[in-house]
């Protein structure tokens, strides 16, 4: 049950997308998402659709992994599409039920909204599938290094370190939760049945031991880090340095071209 939670869903492979600098991937993702929302109609959405499909193909991540991601947010996609179905205010009227009318433009709008969310999810999952969580935090730390001018570089480092640690301990916590749940079930705790209040109460025997062990783990980790002379970000060097390559420049260039395509179609149609 808990095993189904995927976080930091890195998919090991050796595609060009995997090898890009994580900073490039984050910046390009932000750019692509901004332009995805700048599309004005379903026609200009064709450009990011082609772009996304191309990225998916060269990322060498199996299609079923992306489908799985879409499946989890399918209710949101359907909900958004249905709401938008009734917002078409032009075109031929196809159906009128009570107050609601469905027009051809309404259908186009529903498809447009739905596919925009799908593309958004696909693009962001490319980042998480092709970049390890640690690379992502490193990249965030590096991208935020301009905070130096506000004398906040230490805060940025600490934030990145906290994220790294949090990500590292998610599998550990999941395992721990499962163990505690089994132990309390063995003492007759009922987690599946009962009314809402009873179910919430049934969580106490699980959350308290989990909280206590997290605090204990945090103390132990802090001590272990201090034993290795960790004292924050000042003067720290990296084992794995981030480095831009020509591929990053090309990736940025190609994506900017696609974004230009969106602007072009927006103005032409």
């Amino acid at each position: 049950m808990l095993k189904d939670i995927t976080f930091g869903q890195y998919y090991e492979s050796n595609s060009i997308v995997h090898r890009l600098d994580p900073r490039t991937k984050i910046l390009v993702l932000i750019l692509d998402i901004v332009f995805l929302f700048l599309t004005k109609s379903i026609y200009s959405l064709i450009v990011p659709a082609v772009q996304t499909v191309l990225i998916l193909i060269i990322s060498k991540v199996p299609a079923k992994m992306f489908l799985r991601n879409i499946k989890t947010i399918l209710p949101i996609i359907i909900f958004t599409s249905i709401i938008n179905l009734f917002y078409g205010n032009s075109g031929t009227v196809l159906l009128t039920v009570w107050y609601f009318t469905i027009t051809t433009s309404g259908i186009l709008r529903a498809v447009y909204m739905g596919s925009r969310i799908i593309l958004l999810i696909l693009l962001s999952s490319v980042l998480t599938y092709t970049t390890t969580p640690n690379d992502i935090t490193d990249a965030i730390e590096s991208l935020l290094s301009f905070m130096r001018i506000f004398r906040l570089q230490n805060a940025v480092h600490m934030l990145a370190m906290m994220m790294t640690i949090a990500l590292r301990f998610i599998p550990t916590l999941v395992e721990e939760t499962e163990k505690i749940m089994n132990a309390q079930k063995a003492r007759g705790a009922d987690l599946e049945n009962g009314r809402l209040i009873e179910r919430i109460k049934a969580l106490i025997p699980i959350l308290i031991p989990l909280l206590i062990s997290s605090v204990r783990r945090a103390y132990e980790l802090a001590e272990a880090m201090e034993c290795r002379c960790y004292n924050g970000g000042v003067g720290r060097v990296r084992m794995k340095r981030l480095k831009y390559s020509w591929a990053d420049l090309w990736a940025a260039f190609i994506n900017i071209m696609f974004c230009g395509g969106i602007i072009a179609i927006n103005t032409l149609i």
């Binding site: 089994n182 309390q184 079930k185």
Partner: protein, 288 residues
């Protein structure tokens, strides 16, 4: 005698990716008589924990069945909770499951889930604590203020308070100091004597297994390789070391002596027996 637990052709694989062949179990069958102490030994990942979680219905067999008093425990899935009261399972490091504000409340958690209330609940907790030697002055303390060994005992008492017919303990003495180990072993013994319970212990400690267990189940790679008396199992020392296990230290010592002097017996597995044997031998030697 009637067997209290019977396992027939039990198999289980952790689903999802086929890469998790570790901890799976294949076609395991055995039966345990009422009142016996049975030890389960096996290398890490040999399926010990998976097996014991089937005995109280935390895991559902992929194939095969588990019988408790002759009845399949999954006959009525809604009553699986009752099975867990009859087959008490103490996990590894049970002190990490303590959560209540007082020792009393924590021990009472199990019986409370069984539906006991008021005086009945109080009597139940008190009688268990008397049996296993947890003093009344501990009742109002926070379990988090106790020492490691005390926490462990309180956690085990929390399972014993349900008065299970079968008590399963996963590595009950791992990580304890000698005093704590002694206390935990004593409380298991007392519980068994008082309630006539069947006890199943998973352990890596061959010495304890030799002195405690009537019978041993040896698992390797998810398969049952031996199920026999402790004497017979430890007699096959070579086979045990092949699957990453070993005989008690005292047996190893006797074997080393045996290499120099072939008259020494090597089929002695507990410290007590070895001392008796060696004393008798040296007395005999002097007399001769």
């Amino acid at each position: 005698m009637a067997s209290i637990i019977e396992v027939k052709n039990l198999s289980y694989t952790y689903d999802g990716d086929a890469q998790i062949v570790k901890d799976a179990i294949h076609d395991i069958s055995f039966s345990i008589e009422k009142g016996e102490i049975v030890g389960i030994i096996g290398h890490t990942g040999s399926g010990k924990s998976t097996l014991i979680q089937h005995l109280n219905g935390l895991l559902k067999p992929a194939s095969g069945e588990v019988l408790l008093n002759g009845k399949n425990i999954w006959d009525d899935p809604k009553n699986i909770k009752d099975i867990r009261f009859k087959v008490g399972l103490v996990f590894q490091y049970p002190e990490y499951q303590l959560f209540e504000e007082t020792v009393f409340a924590d021990i009472a958690f199990g019986p409370k889930n069984m539906g006991l209330t008021g005086d009945e609940l109080k009597n139940r907790v008190e009688s268990i604590c008397d049996t296993v030697g947890i003093k009344r002055e501990y009742f109002d303390k926070s379990p988090f203020d106790l020492s490691g060994g005390e926490k462990r005992r309180v956690a085990i008492a929390g399972v014993m308070a349900m008065k299970p017919e079968v008590l399963i303990l996963d590595e009950p003495i791992a990580g304890l100091d000698p005093k704590g180990r002694h206390e935990v072993s004593a409380m298991v013994k007392n519980y068994r004597e008082k309630f006539g319970a069947t006890v199943i212990i998973v352990s890596h400690n061959m010495e304890d297994m030799a002195s405690l267990a009537d019978k041993l189940i040896v698992l390797s790679g998810g398969k049952l390789v031996m199920y026999d008396t402790a004497y017979n199992v430890f007699s096959k020392g070579d086979m045990l070391s092949e699957i990453g296990l070993s005989v008690p230290v005292v047996t190893k010592v006797l074997k080393l002596i045996n290499e120099k002097n072939n008259d020494i017996r090597t089929d002695i597995f507990t410290l007590k027996d070895a001392v008796e044997y060696l004393c008798a031998l040296s007395a005999g030697g002097k007399n001769a």
